[in-house]
């Protein structure tokens, strides 16, 4: 066998061995994945108590009855093009730096509804984790996001003026 072929086979064997060990060690995690956990985000509910996923209808109800403060995790440009009326803009990457005083002044016991673009966007989850770490107790991630809100023909607000 040529030297190059031998090296290649060694490398492939290392890959296959890694796959086997991973399957054995993380078998319980695989089972949870197969059951449907982690389909929308990889956070473990037990690590982030108070973070819940909600549907568009639940989000709309909380918004209509003013029971929650809405937080838009998308980039400022997208927020400016249209957002849920009254929603604050907190782009997820910025959430890793300093959160606005405006947001931090909200009562930690109050309800926050976080959303991003929709589909399988991740920024609402990132922001929800950060808000959890800031001490907020009730954070709901509206998984349909902005796309679902728009598709449902719900009210929109434009511009970057922060509420």
């Amino acid at each position: 066998m040529s030297e190059a072929g031998r090296i290649l086979r060694q490398a492939m064997a290392i890959g296959a061995l890694g796959l086997l060990i991973a399957a054995a060690v993380h078998f319980p995690l695989f089972k949870r994945f197969a059951r449907g956990e982690f389909r929308e985000s990889f956070f473990q509910a037990s690590d982030f108590p108070g973070v819940r996923l909600i549907t568009l209808e639940e989000g709309e109800e909380l918004w209509r009855t003013a029971q929650a403060s809405l937080v838009d995790a998308r980039r400022p440009g997208l927020y400016g093009e249209g957002h849920v009326p009254g929603a604050r803009s907190v782009p997820a990457p910025e959430a890793e730096k300093a959160l606005s005083v405006d947001l931090l002044n909200l009562p930690r016991e109050g309800t926050l509804v976080v959303y991003c673009e929709g589909g399988d966007c991740q920024s609402s989850f990132l922001l929800a984790k950060r808000l959890h770490d800031e001490g907020f107790k009730d954070i709901r991630v509206m998984t349909g996001g902005w796309k679902a809100w728009q598709a449902a023909g719900l009210p929109e607000e434009r511009g970057n003026g922060q509420k």
Binding site: Q10, A11, I14, G18, A22, H26, S41, P93, Q122
Partner: protein, 148 residues
């Protein structure tokens, strides 16, 4: 490329150690690493999950084999392959303007940026030295390599 046997041994220990370390921190927090992969926004949820579970073990095995002297060049090939992939991935991430953690060493916050590429290039050099060294230079059992 370096052809000194002792230096190559140090390279193997250093590179292998870094990969074993990087793998272990990810194995300990598989879901965090899965989220890191997902944040690159290149693959979906399922592939991110599978990569996050398997990749750290490949890093650990390749690193450990490189240190222990088992299938050294195969291990060096895996590591250099991964490094080339990481470099391309980071370049693409910079080009797309994404502001995300690289996920290189688990929970240690590092942005996917130029410093990560430089670090990977340095490691790539070590890996290529091991990979390209003639057999007798990295084969310990056969004594010193012949000169000339």
């Amino acid at each position: 490329m370096v052809r000194n046997k002792t230096v190559l041994l140090v390279f193997r220990a250093l590179l292998g150690g870094l990969f074993v370390y990087a793998g272990i921190v990810k194995v300990l927090e598989p879901l965090d690493f899965a989220q890191n992969i997902r944040n690159y926004d290149l693959v979906g949820q399922s592939l991110s999950f599978i990569a996050a579970i398997v990749l750290p073990w490949i890093e650990i095995l390749a690193g450990a084999f490189l240190i222990a002297g088992i299938w050294k060049r195969g291990a060096a090939l895996v590591i250099t392959g991964l490094l080339v992939f990481f470099i391309v991935l980071t370049l693409v991430t910079i080009a797309r303007g994404l502001d995300i953690d690289c996920g290189c060493f688990g929970a240690i916050d590092r942005k996917a940026g130029l410093s990560v590429i430089l670090e990977d290039l340095a490691m790539l050099y070590l890996g290529l030295c091991v990979l390209s060294a003639p057999k007798e230079y990295i084969r310990q059992k056969e004594g010193s390599p012949r000169k000339g």
